[in-house]
């Protein structure tokens, strides 16, 4: 099994700490909030670990980016994954879904044999939700998106998909690509022994040339889309805080205020 994991700015960091450098269209890393593995990717790691628990197998984690932090990208190893492949290079910066899926697919080809590729449903920074389907399309394998349950029965994979108002149960042959949603459940904690093992493990490092990527197809130069601007929307709302001498009074005053503002439609 292969799991694709992306290092992103912590999405749980308070919104006030979020700043953009308007000239470079880049996020300024917030002080005191280190990057994390995208939470949906950890759900994907958990999906792979559950299959490993039931049937055995080896889990290789694939991470692409630049300035990757060892503590961050090794987290899946400390949860129980077996191997880590890092595609780390300046050239990978500024990519879009197109160039990212292209590079990950080339790395998967180099890894060789696999049964399932897992990805998070979307990365919790750009929230595009394209890379998983893109990898599957490039590798010409079936893709099943938005999984909440993944089970292997007699060489067939059975997935419960989370749709807007439905659960859909879909089966496919292997190899296949599956994107995992948070409904799969909390990823397991790292264990002390897991962290120790992970610290000792040396990741495999591949440069673009190692996976046969042509320079014009990497990162920013391999994009299909171009970012014109990245900006923070102006918040025009001012919140009117209702006061009172006691919680009782606050509650009554809030109701009165909403009535005066004609918010209630009785």
């Amino acid at each position: 099994m292969i799991v694709c994991c992306k290092q992103i700015p912590d999405p749980e960091a308070p919104p006030v700490s979020f700043k953009i450098d308007p000239s470079s269209h880049k996020v300024i890393p917030p002080q005191g909030f280190p990057p994390v593995v995208s939470p949906f990717d950890l759900n994907a790691v958990e999906a792979a670990l559950r299959i490993k628990d039931a049937l055995g197998g080896k889990i290789t984690v694939l991470s692409l980016g630049n300035n990757l932090l060892s503590d961050v990208v090794k987290k899946p190893l400390s949860m129980g994954a077996d191997e880590l492949v890092l595609l780390e290079d300046e050239a990978f910066e500024g990519g879009d879904s197109w160039s990212t899926a292209g590079a990950l697919a080339m790395a998967v080809k180099k890894i060789g044999a696999y049964d399932i590729i897992f990805c998070g449903r979307q990365a919790a920074d750009w929230d595009s939700g394209q890379v998983g389907s893109g990898i599957a399309e490039i590798l010409e394998i079936p893709s099943i998106t938005l999984a909440k349950d993944v089970e292997i029965v007699d060489g067939t994979v059975r997935v419960v998909r989370v749709l807007d108002d439905w659960y859909e149960i879909v089966e496919t042959t292997l190899p296949a690509l599956i994107t995992v949603s948070n409904e799969l459940g909390e990823p397991r904690y790292q264990t002390i022994s897991g962290i120790k093992t992970a610290t000792k493990k040396q990741p495999v490092r591949w440069k673009p040339v190692d996976i046969g990527l042509e320079p014009g197809k990497i990162g920013a130069s391999g994009r299909c889309t171009r970012v014109l601007k990245l900006f923070q929307p102006a918040r025009e709302t001012t919140c009117e805080i209702v006061s009172g001498d006691s919680p009782d009074e606050v509650g009554a005053n809030l109701a009165t205020k909403l009535k005066e503002a004609k918010v209630f439609k009785f």
């Binding site: 197109w98 014109l228 990245l230």
Partner: protein, 332 residues
């Protein structure tokens, strides 16, 4: 590149009519097509969907392409991707729009990679740059902390569009248009997936996306009993119950009422956020509400940056007198 012309909407049907996302996309697509002085078309794929072609014209399409096949009755990645890709290669639209929903989320990315073109998902604003004629696609990123405006450098330019960010035209059955039927030939051995079953997730009460009032709770509601009290206000205001992610994951409320980036996107008249801190992930699902009211213990909570009215304190202590007062107003 000059061969690519017009705007195409990927059409969907529900309950015997065009889905509201489709009529909304036709309304938004009409505006883009007019700016380009080109045609708006609608693609209807499925089983017995031809009946809806006149409706698509009444909502603004110049041409409707109909692809009917029993194999297309239920959406599957492996049947729809080749069928739609085949049509797009014949028609060569400049712009293709999908809803950001069950089908759009799955189909649009796979299709974009098959056609080797770029896609922007979950767009909330689309406009044509008057000079380059390119489609400028604006979408929330970083959990709604920022917006990005993106153009696609390849054709067709594809986008999935967030619900309720475009509005439909008034239905006019006098509008004229043409209907063109296509057939597809399937290579059945290339269909590798099989739908085993589909189970409806039951959500009691009013449908969140149609609700005029939503009373929503966060982790601080504490459990099932807390949500019972929220239901009381929701009932009083004829509204629905919503929640952030933790109450859904803890099973206090059904997963279908989760509001946020990965849950429902709602646009009620009134959104009452109780014990909700205001994480960007959640706000992405409710920022379109006309009036937001927040009750939270923490005066610094981010929710107060987006709310119109707020009360600081323990919701358990504030709510009883609030409910009494609302009852009083209602009785008058």
């Amino acid at each position: 590149m000059d061969n690519y012309k017009g705007v195409m909407v990927f059409g969907e049907t529900t309950d015997g009519k065009l889905s509201s996302i489709t009529t909304d996309l036709l309304g938004g697509g009409r505006r883009l097509a007019d700016q380009l002085q080109e045609e708006l078309s609608c693609l209807l794929c499925g089983h017995k969907v031809g009946d809806f072609a006149r409706e698509a014209i009444a909502y603004g399409a110049n041409t409707v392409y109909v692809v009917e096949d029993a194999q297309l009755k239920d959406y599957q990645t492996d049947t729809y991707t080749p069928a739609v890709a085949g049509i797009l290669k014949k028609i060569l639209p400049r712009i293709v729009l999908f809803g950001q929903n069950d089908i759009g989320r799955d189909l649009a990315p796979r299709l974009a990679f098959r056609l080797q073109t770029g896609l922007s998902t979950d767009c909330i604003d689309l406009r044509i740059d008057p000079e380059s004629k390119l489609l400028q696609q604006t979408r929330p990123v970083y959990g709604g902390n920022a917006l990005a405006t993106v153009v696609c450098q390849t054709l067709p330019q594809m986008a999935t569009v967030r619900r309720k960010t475009m509005s439909s035209l008034v239905r006019d059955d006098a509008r004229k248009g043409s209907i063109i039927t296509f057939t597809v030939t399937f290579n059945f051995s290339a269909v590798r997936t099989k739908i085993v079953n589909r189970i409806k997730q039951e959500t009691p009460g009013i449908n969140l996306e149609d609700a005029h009032v939503i009373v929503s709770g966060g982790r601080g509601i504490g459990g099932l009993d807390g949500f019972k009290r929220l239901e009381e206000i929701a009932k009083l205001l004829r509204g629905a119950i919503g929640a952030t992610r933790p109450p859904c994951e803890n099973g206090w409320v059904p997963a279908t009422v989760q509001i946020g980036l990965t849950g429902k996107v709602v646009t009620p008249e009134l959104y009452i956020a109780i014990a909700i801190s205001g994480a960007s992930q959640h706000l992405a699902g409710c920022f379109g509400a006309k009036t937001i009211v927040a009750i939270n213990r923490d005066p610094e909570a981010n929710i107060f940056n987006v709310a119109h009215f707020g009360a600081v304190g323990d919701w358990k202590q504030i709510l009883p007198s609030f409910i009494e007062k609302v009852k009083e107003f209602r009785a008058k």
